[in-house]
């Protein structure tokens, strides 16, 4: 049994630092392979950044059919915590666990730089340690990060408080609708974000503003034990 599972797809490339960031907050964590069909009893599942299946067809489109995604879906439906970072967010949208889609950046370039985002929702297993309205400077690194959804879905996300992270006005790096940088499902247990908190979780990286995502997961996991 582990507390946190990081799914490794062919083409994932942020899984090691994601695993280390989970271990750094005291969570027992391990990789699960995309061909596995069990999450080893993990409370938290993270779909890491990278280019699963070479981003062929569309980012996340093929990863969505990996055997492990059946277990991820069951875990999500049972209220388990599922966190998608960058390519993980794209996979969650492709699999329908989150609404909308991530399209080619508006200005066509791959964007790799720090951006400033505002924490809009703190009632999730990943953002519980932040205060609402906190601004974070986190790195983004993506070519397909422009969040797109119908006007109706965007209204619903706003009305239900499901925008988790928002780019500060003027800091939208990719043309995302309504400056959306991360969203949750209705219950809040499934969240996807484009920025990379695992690259900003330690003073050695000159930026630890992303550490709160991992301490939030640790607190959420301990609270689960308290209940059980």
């Amino acid at each position: 049994m582990i507390q946190a599972a990081v799914v490794r797809f062919p083409g994932s490339n942020c899984e090691t630092e994601t695993l280390r960031a989970l271990e750094a907050v005291g969570l027992s964590a391990d990789f699960v392979w995309h061909r596995d069909d069990t999450l080893q009893g993990a409370d938290v599942v993270v779909l890491p950044g990278g280019f699963s299946y070479g981003d062929y067809l569309r980012s996340g489109a093929i990863a969505r059919f990996s055997p492990i995604m059946g277990a991820v879906r069951e875990h999500a439906n049972a209220g388990g915590a599922v966190f998608g970072i960058c390519n993980g967010f794209q996979i969650l949208c492709e699999s329908g666990l989150l609404p909308g889609a991530l399209m080619r950046n508006a200005r066509l370039t791959f964007v790799s730089r720090p951006v400033t985002v505002c924490v809009e929702r703190t009632t999730t297993p990943f953002t519980g340690g932040y205060t609402e309205g906190a601004t974070l400077t986190l790195p983004v690194a993506h070519g397909e990060g422009r969040f797109v959804a119908s006007a109706e879905v965007v209204r619903e996300l706003r009305a239900e408080g499901r925008v988790v992270l928002q780019y500060l006005a003027g800091h939208n790096p990719n043309g995302s609708t309504a400056d959306i940088a991360g969203i949750s499902n209705a219950a809040g247990n499934v969240v996807g974000i484009m920025p990379h908190p695992e690259r900003a979780n330690n003073g050695m990286l000159n930026n630890d503003t992303g550490a709160g995502f991992f301490t939030s997961m640790a607190s959420w996991t301990s609270a689960l034990k308290g209940v059980a």
Partner: protein, 83 residues
């Protein structure tokens, strides 16, 4: 019977298509000053073994809905040709 399926997937009209815009600008730069409204999509070709053209079309339709096109951002069209 074998059928050849030609699938055409295009970004939905009205959605920003930066790739199409870049191609259009390049065409204009090249001297094709009348070029406009360029869109870039994707073509996928495959073979299906099916009892009839209708059956092949139904299978291809399902492939598009489930994998080949994203229902949020793309539209597709299909052509079924007896191989």
């Amino acid at each position: 019977m074998r059928f050849r399926i030609l699938v055409r997937v295009m970004p939905r009209a009205g959605l920003l298509d930066p790739e199409g815009q870049a191609v259009e600008r390049a065409l204009v730069e090249l001297g094709f000053r009348e070029a406009g409204e360029a869109r870039v999509g994707r073509a996928i070709e495959l073979t299906i073994e099916a009892g009839s053209a209708e059956d092949a079309g139904r299978q291809a339709q399902s492939m598009c809905e489930r994998l080949l096109a994203n229902p949020v951002t793309e539209d597709f069209s299909l052509e079924v040709i007896a191989a």
